[in-house]
């Protein structure tokens, strides 16, 4: 790695740590960053420094929320980077193969049937996997070129799930389950609890590790299947493993945070513009940037107004212009 890239990675890591600490400190009960650091380093903070209430806020409410934000941001960004590399298309986002819409359908179904908190996540995760499984199945049976086949099947399954969600919303009770479904679909970290982190972290981290480990193989997909085969690489196998990993991560993220759009589309562009297209760098860079960006956006979502603004709305407001900027900037460089 060149020194320019090491420098940028150092900056990204620093940004990640800073955002994490600042996110822990801001909110309705502000806690100075220094106290946050002290509280996090030692299990118990210095006697009398933090009131028990603030300590509860810090560790029971804020810590899971920031942690989950970092996890979901890193997860969606990384799977976005991987999907874009697999499909050689910069407009692909983690939602493309139907993982998000599948998860949303599962969650809506669980909410409608009055299932518990843990079950909603589980349903969302499994139906996210099932939706992508269906896409893969359709693609295996089709004779289209694999990249095109995946995209078409993904769009098809995605809109099938959206239709299902619309139907569930139609029959939902407008007094309780409908608002719950609608709120869930907007995506939010507001209800993040310790259980969410415990549920999502192992899934997201194992997916990220898989993707990180195979980052060089993912690069080779950019050459196309036949060229990859001529280089002794089984592109189908690599793509399958990468899709599995990225889908696992996406479904796990969506199952605890709802549908948070844009981050998985924008951060990969941001990462590539900083460190280039090589997945050996763009995957870790998108993990760091996404892990910083989502908690940062979440800080705004909880501070902008007295009632929370769902983060999915904010990421769209921030993400869309940001993507435009990157696209225009890229043109000028060319």
């Amino acid at each position: 790695m060149s020194s320019r890239h090491s420098f940028r990675f150092t900056l990204m890591a620093a940004l990640f740590v800073c955002v994490f600490l600042v996110s822990m400190s801001v909110g309705r009960f502000p806690v100075p960053v220094s106290s946050v650091v002290r509280a996090m380093l030692s299990i118990a903070p210095a006697e009398g420094e933090l009131s028990p209430q603030v300590e509860t806020v810090l560790f029971q409410v804020r810590f899971p929320r920031v942690l989950l934000g970092a996890l979901v941001g890193a997860g969606l960004s990384c799977s976005g980077t991987v999907y874009q590399a697999i499909f050689r298309n910069p407009l692909v986002s983690p939602e493309f193969l139907g993982a998000s819409s599948g998860a949303a359908l599962g969650a809506a179904f669980a909410i409608l049937n009055g299932l518990g908190y843990r079950e909603i996540s589980l349903f969302a995760f499994l139906s996210g996997l099932a939706a992508v499984g269906l896409v893969v199945l359709v693609n295996v049976r089709s004779r289209l070129n694999p990249v095109l086949g995946f995209l078409l099947a993904g769009i098809m399954v995605g809109s099938l799930c959206s239709a299902g969600i619309s139907y569930l919303k139609l029959i939902a009770d407008p007094n309780n389950s409908l608002p719950a479904i609608t709120y869930w679909l907007m995506g939010s970290l507001a209800s993040a609890r310790r259980e969410d982190v415990l549920f999502a972290a192992p899934l997201v981290l194992s997916g990220l590790i898989l993707l990180f480990m195979m980052r060089w193989r993912i690069n080779i997909l950019s050459a196309g299947d036949e060229e990859a085969a001529a280089m002794g690489v089984n592109a189908g196998l690599v793509r399958g493993a990468a899709i599995l990993g990225a889908t696992f991560v996406t479904a796990a993220c969506v199952s605890v945070s709802g549908v948070i759009g844009w981050i998985g589309l924008v951060v990969p562009h941001f990462a590539r513009s900083l460190v280039g297209a090589d997945c050996r760098r763009s995957i870790p860079a998108s993990i760091l940037l996404g892990g910083a960006l989502l908690p940062a956006t979440d800080d705004f979502s909880r501070m902008l107004s007295s009632s929370e603004v769902p983060i999915g709305i904010l990421t769209a407001f921030v993400g869309a212009p940001f993507l435009l900027y990157i696209i225009l900037n890229d043109r000028r460089e060319a």
Binding site: I220, S222, M231
Partner: protein, 259 residues
Amino acid sequence: MNTPSLCVKELTVDYGARRVLSGVSFEVYGGSLVALLGRNGSGKSTLFRCILGLLSYRGRIAAGGRDTRGMSASERASAFAYIPQGHENASSHTALEMVLMGASSRLGFWSTPGRREAHRAVEAMEEIGIGHLSDRRYDRLSGGEKQLVLTARALAQDASILIMDEPCSNLDYGHQLRVLDCAAGLARRGYLVVLSTHNPEHALSFADQALLLMDGAVNISGEPSDVMDAATLERMYGVPLDLAPAGGMLRTRRMGKVS
């Protein structure tokens, strides 16, 4: 003569009911530049895809005396390297990263290229004089530069047989010559370079051997100046041709009248 580097025997390929290749046989040797000529749709790319193991076929293909059917993917990659047409890939990797991909067959599924592979990639780029392109983005290179980067990638793969699919299509005259010159240089250094071309003049001025693919078979093979007479080319391309006496330049006899 040493054992043939590449030996193709009775190669037959059907696309559904259509027979594309019927009994292609030829032998070519290391250290030579071999030009494969034939009309559009004559099966040049099909032949290459069989050699690279991308298509199923009947017959036998052997590299260095070994049947390619028994080779694993990585063994095959260390025997053959493929140099596709550069314009088909618009990857935004840097040129060096592209070349580095050639080393992939020697790496395990979970590994990334290390110092040794990086060194080989730089060496391959310098070997064909494009060291200065390392940090440039591949999708922003010219067609000829792309072709040379893909050639360097093939060298980094450490295979002794290089398969070039129409390396000169879409290149301007200068870049065509540069790419062909590079291919001829590699052949002189011991590689077996097999390239397909639509331009008989390329074969006449650069190749050591010409393979003429007609009616699904290699009917004629030999030194380009021996086998590529006007009558043969006329038969192959279906255009009346004259071969100018000096320099081997070709011109059509009656412009515009295609039989």
